[in-house]
Amino acid sequence: MTTAPVDLDFATVSELGALLRSRDLSPVDLTRHCLRQLDSLGRSLNAVVTVTDDLALEQAARAEAELRSGIDRGPLHGIPYGAKDILATAGIPTNWGAVPFGGQLFDKDATVVARLRDAGAVLVAKLATVELAGGMGYDHPDAAATGAPANPWNVDRWTGGSSSGPSAAVAAGLVPFAIGSDTGGSITMPAAWTGTAGLRPTYGRVSRHGAMALCWTLDRLGPMARNAYDCGLALQAIAGHDPQDPSTSREPYTYTSRAARRTGFRFGVVAGATDGASPEVAANFAESLEVLSELGTLETVTLPQLPYAEVADTIMAAEAYAAFDDFLAAGRSRELTARKAHAHRLAAAVLPAHDYIRAQRIRARAVTWYQELAGQYDALLAPTLGDVSGGVDDAFAYNLTGTFSRELNLAGVLAGAPTISVFNGFGADDLPTGIAFAGARWADNAVLDAAAALEERTPWSRRHPMLAADVMRVRAGGGR
């Protein structure tokens, strides 16, 4: 292998792909590098559940042979990635982040894992998740079988959840991209806190077959990567109809074989989007809007006034209880790590069915109204979160309300609409902040293009943490 002209840890998928095709880098060498990083830094950050050495080296060797013989499976061919540990992988434990499911084995890959394999990507690790994707309740970062995941920008801070491992691994440069899951913000929020790009695609765009079910009408899988463009590349590989997930669309999806837009956008800025946000988040959002104003028009929009949090809470409670009813009825929630999770979800046993149905009826109104509004724009904009990440040892409030309005997130969650969060600056303590681009259903490419256009005009997506000192302190037992 010749010396690579780019920093392997923080190279994009496209940059790595160019190196692989020019033979300046081999898939096997790249994979070995990622495996080493995952086994050392990844474990120090509590980002890793299982390093899949044997499978990874086998897939990398196949990719190397194919590329050398002229078989090119596309932009992910030979590119390592990590999968949140709620995705089934044949013969490799899938623990769902939870002690009671430790060592759980499936005999088939999840559809997204199979599709990435077909695209030539190399699975190098199962990555940490909040136990059961946070669905049983949690109010502390340590609610995971692998412990509290540290934020690569500052190991005293948390990544956010529940896609904590994917966000930490991408931010730390351990993998170029990863697959996370999102029920109420579990991709976009850790993306914002770790300075990565995280896409929650349109509901129905990506099969959930083989993923742990938490809330059938809300769960989505999506990519987390260094930037929006890489998210698009990964989405193209995993999107599409799957007979094993009847929610998936039969509409084909393409990202690369089209003309990507970089100007002429129409943006809707959510009124009051920075209410309750920290001054730094508000300032970064204002700076992003200034850049975006050069790429298109900005109009202030008002989201329909709906009980977003109450609808989402009710749906999540009912569906999460149903998804784990045997587990809960057996009293096994007390085997979970989070103290809150021992009893939190038991309460949903007395949530009336008609309340759940009512929430889904109000949600139908929300979808209609959201589509009417979002359909007039390429993206609706708001800060992803109101502040930078909290302490990795600190408890936090577990609810969907709070002083910072999360209505755009919840509207997108309920509407099944695509949202991407990308890095848009630093807040307090030099920690990343994010901006959310939320589009109409099926307008995944509009939000990807708009976010990519912002990234191209700003330096943030090319910034990365200086890990060594912090991580060495942790590894030496200095504690967090």
């Binding site: 509901y203 021992h342 009893a343 046993a349 009336p352 949600r363 109104r365």
Partner: protein, 127 residues
């Protein structure tokens, strides 16, 4: 007995509000304000129907009724899981309270008979 003083105290508190047929009827009347055949009843400290300032949508319950409902729903959860400890019990009470509060909000949102749940639309979207 559960051998848990705090739990027993909670259950005793719940038992202070037995759901007798009369109480159940009163709760039904509360829920369907305006159609109370009794013209309004008082059950201990829970004033039903006539305590209202105006007609509301089910289940916009007065505070005392809401607390009673939380206690009764909590009792059902505790009956299913009798070995929960104090912290667990507090978590159940807190979460049931939040669910009842959410329900209040959801039922304050006007819907018509024609409003279908979203999964009906989702089910037809890709056919």
């Amino acid at each position: 007995m559960h051998g848990n003083c705090k739990l027993d105290a909670t259950l005793q508190k719940i038992c202070d509000y037995p759901l007798t047929p009369e109480a159940a009827r009163a709760m039904v009347c509360t829920r369907w304000a305006g159609s109370d055949p009794t013209g309004g009843e008082t059950r201990k400290d829970v004033v039903v129907t006539k305590s209202r300032t105006g007609p509301t949508i089910y289940p916009q319950l007065p505070r005392a009724d809401r607390e009673l409902l939380v206690h009764q729903l909590t009792a059902i959860v505790l009956a299913r899981h009798p070995d929960l400890d104090d912290a667990d019990r507090d978590e159940v009470i807190s979460t049931v309270t939040a669910q009842v509060d959410d329900s209040q909000v959801l039922h304050g949102f006007a819907l018509s008979n024609a409003d279908e749940p979203i999964f009906v639309a989702y089910g037809g979207e890709h056919r």
